[in-house]
């Protein structure tokens, strides 16, 4: 029995008469009771608007809110807290960069490079700004096993490339991309790099200074924290040079009808009352993660990945989509003669939660010429026993469908 499970109250329940098996961690991770407690405590004791109240509750809420910013800066080794901007999530962060950096620094005839492995969130915001500016989107191709073609990437680089936007880890098939190389190669031609860290931050430790990355976006809810909160990290000179994004409270220094001066970092990009409660609870999820260490998580999940891959291949006609040598604990698969949707629906009857469909990565599905996949994604609180139950249920489901 996995000793971390008891920290996650939601895991202890029956679904359709069977013990819940939650293998949809790439969609969102579950929350430890430490996070839930902090959220509850905040609303019971500290709730106030931040940065302006002249009273005790406002002071407490502000201190806790800003303390999370500090924890995030430590978590990714940001040189300062001003470079940590709170967003609504990874998508919010990417859109912020597209609409500010993109608006200011991408011009007619320029190029933006994305990869064939991207989530729609890291494609569409770039298409929008490219269309507006008359810029072009170039795509790094993906090999049959799901690895980026780095030679092709190098040949795409030239002085017209203003930005390279790639994910650290593919949400659909789990590939870990060589972002160190991508960043240094892009910098050689003067391009900036945005890393979509949505799928990696919970599994792999990230040091933004060592990576020399220009932007990093990720979400709290995939880090065992609440939904509706994300982080955008950026290099200070870039964030300062970028125009503000949304207008409103907090992001201004002075307003008059003659003109407005904008606040300093990070507040310049944080218009309106933020998601205070969830930011504070996000701090608790970082504490929780730090108590475990990325190394422990990595080892537990690596074991789950190799065990699940091995056991799944016992099933006749099962094909794993994405077999990159460097992967996080995600197994995307198809079973000959069955549709992913049918598999997902019937597994649910066994209390097993997986994701089926195109995983918001339709260009990748087109690359493999498939409609979608079944995706089982694991977290450190999952167990080999759960994988056994999953494989047994899957065998029964396949029998029903064939």
């Amino acid at each position: 029995m996995n000793s971390y499970r008891s920290d996650f109250p939601i895991l202890d329940q029956m679904v359709n008469g069977k013990p819940l098996i939650y293998f949809d961690n790439a969609a969102t991770t579950q929350k430890p009771k430490q996070v839930i407690e902090v959220l509850k405590h905040y609303y019971e004791m500290d709730n106030a608007n931040i940065h302006r109240g002249a009273h005790a509750l406002a002071d407490r809420a502000t201190a806790k809110y800003e303390n999370t910013r500090k924890k995030i800066a430590d978590f990714i080794n940001s040189p300062s807290t001003e470079q940590i901007i709170f967003t609504s999530g990874t998508t919010g962060g990417i859109n912020l960069v597209a609409q500010t950096f993109g608006r200011a620094f991408v011009g007619n005839g320029d190029q933006i490079i994305v990869s064939n492995l991207e989530h729609h969130s890291n494609i569409v915001p770039w298409q929008m700004i490219a269309q507006e500016k008359g810029a072009e989107i170039k795509v790094i191709p993906v090999s049959e096993v799901g690895v980026l073609d780095m030679e092709a990437f190098k040949s795409l680089l030239n002085s017209r490339v203003k930005l390279v936007a790639v994910n650290h880890v593919s949400n659909a098939i789990g590939t870990i991309n060589p972002i160190e190389t991508i960043i240094s190669e892009a910098h050689n031609v003067g391009a900036k790099v945005l890393i979509d860290g949505a799928q990696s931050v919970a599994h792999i430790s990230i040091d933004v200074q060592k990576l020399d990355v220009d932007f990093l976006a990720f979400s709290a809810h995939k880090l065992f924290g609440p939904t509706g909160v994300g982080v955008l990290y950026g290099k200070k000179e870039l964030l300062n040079a970028m125009p503000p994004y949304q207008g409103g409270g907090e992001m201004i220094k002075e307003v008059s009808f003659a003109g407005t001066t904008y606040n300093e970092l990070p507040y310049k990009f944080e218009a309106g009352t933020p998601n205070i409660a969830d930011v504070i609870a996000f701090g608790a999820s970082l504490d929780y993660l730090n108590s475990l260490s990325h190394q422990t998580i990595w080892e537990l999940e690596k074991e789950l990945l190799s065990y699940a891959s091995k056991r799944l291949l016992e099933i006749d006609g099962l094909k794993i989509i994405g077999t990159a040598p460097q992967k996080i604990a995600v197994v995307s698969f198809l079973i000959e003669g069955t549709h992913p949707q049918d598999i997902g629906l019937l597994l649910d009857k066994y209390g097993i939660a997986i994701r089926t469909g195109h995983h918001c990565a339709q260009p990748l599905m087109q690359r493999f010429d498939i409609v979608g996949t079944c995706r089982a994604s694991f977290a450190f609180y999952n167990t080999k026993e759960e994988i056994d139950a999953f494989v047994e249920a899957l065998k029964k489901v396949v029998l029903m469908l064939k």
């Binding site: 069955t338 549709h339 949707q341 009857k349 409609v371 979608g372 029903m400 469908l401």
Partner: protein, 141 residues
């Protein structure tokens, strides 16, 4: 005299009443899906695709002697089974009857989860599209 919509719904409810557990129910549904009369390939056009479904679902309708005849297909077999039941209930009925139909059988046989917006498997979109066809034919009539 052909059976009316509610009579067909009642016989479906009776058939499903025989099953002891969900596996039998879904085995029957899968069987219905596999037996659904094949849709002519020529009708599987982009225009006939129902949007908002995780698997591809096609629906076409024609109007013959005052009745609406539906044909449909899907890539996923459980959806096909659900489609097969909808066709059994709503095909070969008058536009008026289709428009007024209250599809209570879905709930009664324990399949209402498939009607939920969140499942995005198209049953809801399918029913809506069937009613849209009925409305279009009733205006033509």
């Amino acid at each position: 005299m052909a059976k009316n919509i509610n009579q067909i719904q009642d016989s479906l409810i009776e058939e499903f009443g025989l099953f002891e557990d969900w596996t039998e129910k879904y085995e029957y549904l899968i069987d219905l899906g596999k037996k659904l009369s094949p849709m002519a390939e020529a009708l599987k056009t982009e225009d006939n695709v129902i949007k908002g479904c995780q698997s591809k679902v096609w629906l076409s309708a024609k109007f013959e002697e005052g009745k609406v005849i539906f044909e449909a297909d899907s890539e996923a077999v459980i959806v096909k089974g659900l489609i097969s039941m909808l066709i059994r209930v709503l095909s070969n009925q008058t536009p008026q009857d289709i428009l007024q139909a209250d599809l209570y059988f879905i709930d009664e046989i324990g399949m209402s989860q498939h009607l939920a917006q969140t499942r995005s498997n198209g049953l809801l979109a399918m029913v809506k599209q069937m009613k849209n066809y009925a409305l279009a034919f009733s205006l033509k009539d």
